[in-house]
Symmetry: C2
Subunit: 165 residues, 2 copies
DNA sequence: GATTATTATCTCAGTGCTAAACTACTCTCG
DNA sequence: CGAGAGTAGTTTAGCACTGAGATAATAATC
């Protein structure tokens, strides 16, 4: 089970407020990932806010822009939202004219979301700028470091999802 | 300004839906950090939910547990919340008897939040288990990899905060 | 010492989101 | 086929959180 270190330890006689050394690095990694994510998220958020979008709205537009029309459930999986959240999100984007729902002939329960012509034109206009914003946000790491970080975060995420509860 | 690669590029003649190769890794890193964070967050969230706490509530308890009484503003900085959010959060924890407000003699605008005896006892009881949960969540990486990841995320976060808007 | 700017917290209206119940449809298997 | 289980999306109630303004106190400047 344990891949790298022991998980059972007696903590009863440590003074309150002390983190056991062997867990301190796990906690540190957790907080540092949280803070990095918060910083990236906020930088990206400020960028898309200039166009009156939330980051989640942008994420939907982006995935449709790059993958084409997608079932709502597929979008939900990509952007990690709840089913109710997707409905709400697509409603908002449809109200603004960027997205439309299309019926799915193979399964009449399901719906596609697709960019409208206006949505495509909009993304074509703003996406490159957003990509440059992201590039600036990660620019503190060298290309090799970014590669390492990407690999480590991929495995960290997978490991955390698979972790025994 | 640019530390590692060029930031200006002509994207006009790329077909819609194509990410320019030089920005693809920035985007990839962004999403992989998001997903790793989401997985860690959810794992930790499920753990504290068993005690009827949100992760933010737990974060407040944890910082008070490890640092002692703190001004509300100091907590806000530590856990990255808004001022209104801290008031709301401390209210909820006070309602449950884990935390109390104390006046600050040096500055009568400010308030301390401090764990009650019950709060200390509660954290003493549940914190070690939570630390083990975090350790399991990051267990896919070896100790050396965790160290590397921590370093990279720290610099990524700092770089993103300092990035020119 | 009075005036102004700043700071710490609280209040409150609004928002993005979730979870659970619900509707409509599809699949499975006797 | 037809009953029941399962699935895709929507609805609804409610919650954690934000941001802007209000309040009260402190610091800075004249």
């Amino acid at each position: 089970m344990s891949r790298h270190e022991p998980h059972a330890v007696n903590t009863d006689d440590l003074p309150p407020g002390q983190v056991e050394p062997q867990f301190a690095d796990a906690l540190k990694l957790f907080t540092v990932v949280s803070r990095a994510h918060a910083a990236l998220h906020q930088g990206a958020r400020e960028d898309v806010a200039r166009h009156g979008l939330t980051l989640t709205e942008f994420a939907v537009l982006e995935v449709l822009y790059h993958k084409g029309p997608l079932l709502l459930g597929a979008i939900r999986d990509k952007i990690l939202a709840s089913s109710g959240g997707i409905t709400y999100l697509v409603d908002r984007l449809a109200d603004r004219g960027f997205v439309e729902r299309r019926e799915c002939p193979e399964d009449r329960r399901a719906r596609y979301a697709a960019l409208t012509a206006e949505g495509i034109e909009f993304m074509h206009r703003i996406f490159p700028e957003h990509a440059r914003c992201l590039a600036r946000l990660v620019d503190a790491l060298s290309p090799e470091e970014r590669k390492t970080a990407t690999d480590l975060m991929k495995r960290l995420g997978k490991g955390a999802r698979d972790a025994p509860s």
